[in-house]
Amino acid sequence: MTREAPSPADPDERCAELAALYAAGALTAEECAEFERRLADGCTHSRAAWQEYRPVVAALAAAVPPVPPCPSVKQKLLAQASSVPRQPPAGPTAQA
């Protein structure tokens, strides 16, 4: 029932599919890496497709009621942050 579906042959279509599934958090780790690599490499189709879905990512997060963290979390975090060494900027694949 869950056989591998063929990926779209059209590169634009592939970018659009990856962007939608990336935004929905539905990609496998390998596909996620593939899409982030496309973004990092400056693929215009991927960037354009991702730009369209970014607001939906924020919106889906906004659909969940906010939960105020316990105040001690911030205290611990600030204490940890002041002792964490800053990492030099990584390559462009470090984030979406």
Binding site: M1, T2, R3, E4, A5, P6, A16, E17, A20, L21, A23, A24, G25, A26, L27, T28, L39, R47, W50, E52, Y53, R54, P55, V56, V57, A58, A59, L60, A61, A62, A63, V64, P65, P66, V67, P68, P69, C70, V73, K74, K76, L77, L78, Q80, A81, S82, V84, P85, R86, Q87, P88, P89, A90, P92, A94, Q95, A96
Partner: protein
């Protein structure tokens, strides 16, 4: 006047703890809400919240204004850390499924009056059931399209289509609430 997220991230990258605290205050409740939805109401969600913001602190210099708004970046980072956590739970044989918790009928959920929140819930509610289910399983449940296909016993291509159609509809119906471009 409060600083924009992008300015705060620049200051965080420069090592300003005060900016980091402000960024945290602004977004932590939203991120924790999402993590709680994905991971349940244990202390795990707060542990992951700390991981997420520590990553913001240490990697803020990598943030690319041209590729994502600060909020979209933060959500992607948070989801990624939550999925790591779910994988670790699975390896330890602990339950990973939080998808039974619904947004609409969660009795512990406070009544939200905020306009965007209502608009998103309404847009989700307008989706065909199978599209909404696929999106909930992926975005909040942390399942990949392969896992969703397995769980629902439908072909992979069907799951991909449902997600794409659902995302497309949400994009259209949420157009008025579109993100403000980063300066």
């Amino acid at each position: 006047m409060s600083l924009s997220d992008a300015t705060l991230l620049e200051r965080i990258a420069a090592g300003e703890l005060e900016a980091f605290g402000e960024f945290y205050d602004r977004h932590a409740p939203r991120v924790l809400g999402m993590l709680t939805r994905m991971l349940g109401r244990s202390g795990d969600a707060e542990d992951v919240l700390q991981e997420v913001f520590l990553q913001v602190w240490s990697r803020a210099a990598d943030y690319d204004f041209h590729r994502a708004t600060p909020l979209a970046w933060l959500i992607v980072v948070a989801r990624s850390r939550a999925l790591d956590h779910l994988r670790r739970r699975k390896l330890r044989g602990l339950p990973t499924d939080q998808t039974e918790q619904g947004t609409e009928d969660d009795p512990a959920a406070p009544v939200e009056q905020e306009e965007t929140h209502r608009a998103v819930l309404a847009a989700l509610a307008r989706l065909p059931r199978e599209q909404r289910l696929a999106l909930e399983l992926s975005f909040y449940g942390g399942l990949t399209h392969e896992q969703i296909a397995e769980r629902l016993a439908v072909p992979l291509g069907t799951v991909k289509s449902r997600i794409r159609l659902g995302m497309g509809r949400l994009r259209t119906s949420l157009q008025p609430f579109s993100e403000v471009p980063s300066p």
